[in-house]
Symmetry: D2
Subunit: 319 residues, 4 copies
């Protein structure tokens, strides 16, 4: 389904279920897509960081994206991450994503390299120029190690390079300045930046982002509880901000599952991705909770804690 | 006025006006205090980072704090920053602040040194133990170069060491987790962490912080427009979140004055502090807009831009 | 030529000349290889950061490595960088490098992802296990954003996973500790860590690294002046440390060409890579000095400065 | 003893022994000064980071400096650290240091604040202008969180603001560039930067720094083994670089005592400072090994490991 401008609503980054051999489990992935659509989400983002894109070979990336696109079958737009170090490598992924039927692309600034802001601008312009799909900038300093400046984002919004921003910088003050500079809540609705979509990836401040005028959310935790994020979205749309805050509080408590893995033995990233997948397995959505090599797996204690968190949040586990 | 627990409302960090010789201008400072109280603020924070505390000698710190305490004369609580590298140096400031009549203390973790979390806990406990005033932890990684973990804050809240947290980390997701762990909007009101005050120093996300259940705000920009922040506070208290967001948008636009100084010639910190003071001078509150040596001063172009921002925000300049 | 253990001497990371269309200029690359071998170097490192590996598509990487291997024709060992985000993506490059005839592999820790030390250990072990070529760890925190700990390096040296370390961390104190822990100058010569090679990528402290007992050097500037680095190496081997230091001083002065590009207009990385290529062009080795997109190109002024630096260092320009 | 330009040789940063109540133990400090002078050092640096200056009150700083100056009694120059956040606070310390008889001052760039390079230049110029003692810049990014650029250092050397640099940045490549830009080994001896002293604080690469033309060293480990560093210095002066490297290797092995404290329970800084003091106590130089509050103390196991390291390095423990 083509991206309508601005893209809005709940657009989860789709986890990539793996089997015990480490290959993409397409049956589980298809079930996960149905789980998300069943929760009422407004779009899907395949091959993002939560999808473990950086761990997948080119072949695995293709399998995962193909499975998502075919399962969605046009019911919502599908964005595809085109994550690689620099422009020409990104373009190889972008052409493949277009071929596989993605509705939009999500690209970071170059990484591994140290890249000047003028070069970053050239990077996004070249990607947009060579592959004719709406392009979203992915601001993720924890992985990319540079932050997209609001000035650069506005420049690339104004000239039509970018269809939107996925802001996972965690810098909510900077996001607020950007939203106000784009026209604020009212200005944006009445057309000062009509087609540009601002999506937050900060899953613990969604009520705040929506109050500030963000168009939507890309919550990793939305894999586990898509219906919760959709309720939060609907509360905000109806102006019931206390209800939105209450739902956000429930989701924030649930989010604590990311710390289930023992801190001494594994990183916070492996723990979080492992917890999302363990939760999906306990909910009966996917078959195997393994994360991609070389990530360390959650142990039984951590998995039990994930289960307890799910039940505390009112979700029904089947394992 | 003693701090009531939890401290709540708008508690601006008070700028320290200087004369052209670089000494504390007590008459201007007294006028600034009246400007803030006239705007309806609920407390004052002297000798914080916005007060240029790190630039003031011990003598100047004393003069500034004495002026604030005497001018306030018990109308609102006065917190005093006790900013120094480690515990015993902080204690020297704390004893002086107590002598001068401060109602509460605000201390950071040690800086310049590299300090283990267990040592940071010992630091706060020792300060609280030796000087009998409510103690607020000041989380300011941009200056201190470490972040207070939510776990540590909750431990020090639970054992009564801390009366509150001033969170200037900019990490709103972490702040949300802390608020939820402390009981959330409802739990906090009904007593699960009744005396502990969470104040945000992030002046661009105040509506969001209040929606999330923060008790108050310490906005540097509140020097310039205290009444605006008080209106935001009142809108939030009355549950009119769209009005709160609208006021936040106006203040966010006004905040752009911090970038008035030319980026090639001066740092963002000098530009921001200089802009606050230039604004106070243009508003007729203080006599001289100079920041402390060795900071570079705003030039005439930058000052004119500050004036334009003030007028755009509906404030009346007199110079 | 197989890698003899420990690999030692001058092993430059080979620049990848591009034509004006941005494709690998194999004729220029072959001339560059002859320029390096003619200078007396002891090995070559293709597809490293100085080779702009992060900018090359998989196809371009293959072309570059094939050209280097075929031109070298067994005269010295050829190491191949296998630079990608995580293990399975690295393995795809490793298998291709083996197929193309590389004599050894150079891999970083995972990047883009946040990876725990235990996971990093697993990463190197898996790569070594699956492709039977000597494996060198590449410590490059400026790109990878984590540092390999000396403890981890020694563990992976002891169990035979690693044939060596290319240390581009710039942390010479840590490198010295590692060298001493491996047995120091004497212990290493007499067999306490006989097969493990420590190579420094810090081109300005080569005399120091050799005095400390490093086995060799991977100097980016060695593209421009391989004979200079070989003279430095020979002086060190003969124990003439003042001569080594004098040669290092000449090379340090030459190194200033990396700052030829104007700082306001381009990053230091583009400036350095552009300067190496501009120098190779001025020396008549390669045809075109362009760096890969989206890097900004040196302008005429900067190129003239590169030429001046070359002549100051006693090198003969032909353009 | 006045500082002769350029200051050269071994100039240890003097630990500050404390008694069990946390006060300066002047008798132990006097013995430590004699231990250092007995080892043949060429100057002393009081109130540096290794002196725990950031933990000492103003009164304790005065006591420590007075004790060092009086004990030295003109036998070598005494530098005094004037460590505080910004210029006017530094000047208060500088005037006191002058009054107490220091022969030179050592100041960092401002910290806690974010300070523009032009402001940093103004800072050093003001300090030099107001107190008439040779001024050394202290480059310590791990504490100050900014690095002094070689350009700034050369500018302040050229105009006479700075008498020297104490480089504890750990960036040996940058240090080499600075030394070469100042004239290199030969140029400096013959007068191109005759009075400016470059001292390294990197105690594990002293042989390398001296080979590169540094004037001297400020080694924290020099508290424990001053004679070892003096031997290293003499070997370098006589051109016996292999002997210098061998001595450096012994000192590098000894340096491992900094990791005696258990990593899970205390920071690396407390462990290092605690190990220096534990070593001095085991060597019979000082009475009590405590570090300043809130640092965690070494336990018995860690202290035993320090003792083993001392004996391995050929030093004689008396406890």
């Amino acid at each position: 389904m083509p991206v309508t401008a601005p893209l809005s609503g709940i657009v989860p980054p789709v986890c990539t279920p793996l089997d015990s051999a480490g290959e993409v489990d397409t049956a589980s992935l298809a079930r996960l897509v149905e789980h998300l659509l069943g929760g009422g989400v407004h779009g899907l983002f395949a091959l993002g960081s939560t999808s473990e894109v950086a761990y997948l070979t080119d072949g695995q990336r293709g399998t995962a994206l193909k499975t998502v696109v075919e399962t969605v079958a046009g019911r919502v737009p599908v964005l595809a991450g085109v994550i690689d170090t620099t422009t020409h490598r990104v373009l190889d992924h972008a052409r493949e994503a277009e071929r596989l039927g993605a509705d939009g692309l999500v690209a970071t600034a170059p990484f591994y390299t140290r890249t000047h802001p003028r070069e970053i601008a050239g990077h996004f312009r070249r990607v947009r120029d060579r592959v004719d799909l709406p392009l979203f900038a992915y601001d993720l300093p924890v992985s990319v190690h540079s932050k997209l400046s609001p000035t650069l984002v506005r420049e690339l919004a104004a000239d039509g390079t970018l269809a939107g921003l996925k802001d996972s910088s965690g810098d909510e003050g900077s996001l607020r300045r950007l939203l106000v500079e784009l026209g604020g809540r009212e200005g944006r609705a009445t057309g000062r930046a009509p087609g540009f979509s601002v999506l937050t990836g900060s899953e613990l401040t969604v009520d705040a982002a929506l109050l500030a005028g963000a168009d939507g959310v890309v919550p990793g935790l939305g894999n586990v509880d898509p219906a919760g994020y959709v309720r939060l979205w609907e509360a905000a749309r109806s102006g019931d901000w206390l209800l939105a805050a209450k739902e956000q509080e429930r989701l924030t408590s649930l989010f604590a599952l990311v710390d289930a893995g023992p801190e001494a033995d594994m990183g916070r990233s492996s723990s979080a991705l492992g917890a999302f997948k363990a939760a999906l397995r306990l909910l009966g959505v996917i078959e195997c909770g393994d994360t991609a090599f070389p990530q360390i797996q959650l142990d039984a204690t951590a998995t039990a804690e994930v289960g307890a968190r799910l039940r505390d949040a009112g979700l029904t586990t089947v394992r």
